[in-house]
Symmetry: C2
């Protein structure tokens, strides 16, 4: 089985295979080495994302400690459905519950690396322009997100990563280091341009290289063609086949 | 489980997630609807590809008629390893054996669609230029593929698709309909430019729309955000969850 890199997020993840997208670039870099699985859900928030968790990682649960994890997920799931846990403003608790589970999975499966990525900054002016282009005069009445709130969210994300000893990427800070980040990295004040995608890609590759494995050091899935003897191709495959 | 579209081929497939690549474009088009799984193996030929078949589709085998298919694959595998079946020049027989197995899989699993894609044409002059740039004077001594041979291979591929009642895409013919195809579609006489990738992408989307499902008619994996009630998000997820 080829290793999987699961991208779990919102529209910025869902759109990551567009031209110049960070998901596609990862898929190319890890070609023949890992599968990049896109699990981006546009427009979802953390609370909604929790409804998917149970479905997105079922195989891993079953492979590890089925009874304990199933019980735990079941309890978590019931709490969620009954609404006893979720309060929209209580992001700390949602984050906490969620990452405790991911931490547990990480402990059970030492080869699973979890990397947290914050949202990028918000260009409020660009966001307003986009809304005006789309909705005209009505745009003013729409509630809009702010860069400050995105910054608080990013801070919380980095803080939780630290608590859980997970690597994180602070896109919110990183992108604002560059003059003109508003138009260079964001195409509608919120979603990424090709340059913005390149920042995410470079940061993910950097974190993977530092904490896990750079693509260049990962083995190919099946022998590289230069290792196959045209007179006796079976030989190069034999070791892999015997191992399966 | 999200449906999978498996791209099985050589370097043109392996490189299909590069910028402007046809694999990445498919992944974007089928975003939230199907996973595009890249199983391209650069430099491999049909004979070598046969060594992988048993490993690439094991789950489907196990899910269908395990004993019969396992036995059959085992026999096929042993024949291969013993070399009693493979003769490099006998592409007809290799194609035949291989597609008989795929046909069998298709019959067992009616939702599996197999599409055969021929190689693109070869720009012999472009190929020579590339070799000269890479190897200098030595280049002349290297054996090189011809457009005529690629055409015979493409013809065989289309013929077999017809025999097996499978859809096929004849890139060899399609690309040569355009004046200047040599430089427009091929970057080294053999591998695809962005324009060449666009042809493959468009043809695959066309065939999928005609024979299977256009992405626009496939359901989203989990509800679209517009269908989720922020006051009661669980409701939209409930049906899907109960179905699992």
């Amino acid at each position: 089985m080829r290793p999987q890199i699961v991208l779990f997020g919102d529209s910025i993840t869902e759109q990551s295979f567009r031209s110049g997208g960070w998901g596609a670039a990862l898929a190319d870099t890890y070609s023949r080495k890992a599968d990049i699985v896109n699990r981006g859900f546009g427009g979802y928030n953390t609370r909604w994302a929790l409804f998917l968790l149970h479905h997105l990682f079922p195989l891993r649960l079953l492979l590890l400690q089925p009874y304990f994890l199933e019980q735990m997920m079941q309890r978590f799931w019931e709490e969620l459905v009954q609404g006893s846990m979720c309060q929209l403003m209580n992001t700390r608790r949602i984050f906490g519950e969620w990452f405790n589970i991911l931490r547990l999975l990480q402990e059970c499966c030492s080869t699973m690396l979890i990397v947290l990525i914050t949202p990028p900054p918000v260009d409020e002016e660009g966001r307003k322009e986009y809304a005006r282009a789309l909705y005209g005069e009505k745009a003013m009445k729409l509630p809009e997100r702010t860069n400050e709130t995105a910054g608080l969210y990013a801070e919380k994300c980095v803080e939780l990563a630290r608590e859980l000893d997970l690597p994180s990427i602070n896109l919110w800070s990183k992108m604002q280091e560059m003059d003109g980040w508003q138009k260079k990295f964001l195409r509608d004040g919120l979603h990424l341009t090709e340059d913005g995608n390149a920042v995410v890609y470079q940061e993910v590759v950097r974190v993977f290289s530092e904490t896990w494995l750079p693509a260049s050091k990962m083995p190919y899935d099946f022998p590289h063609h230069s290792e196959i003897d045209p007179e006796n191709p079976g030989k190069a495959f034999q070791q892999q086949c015997l191992g399966v």
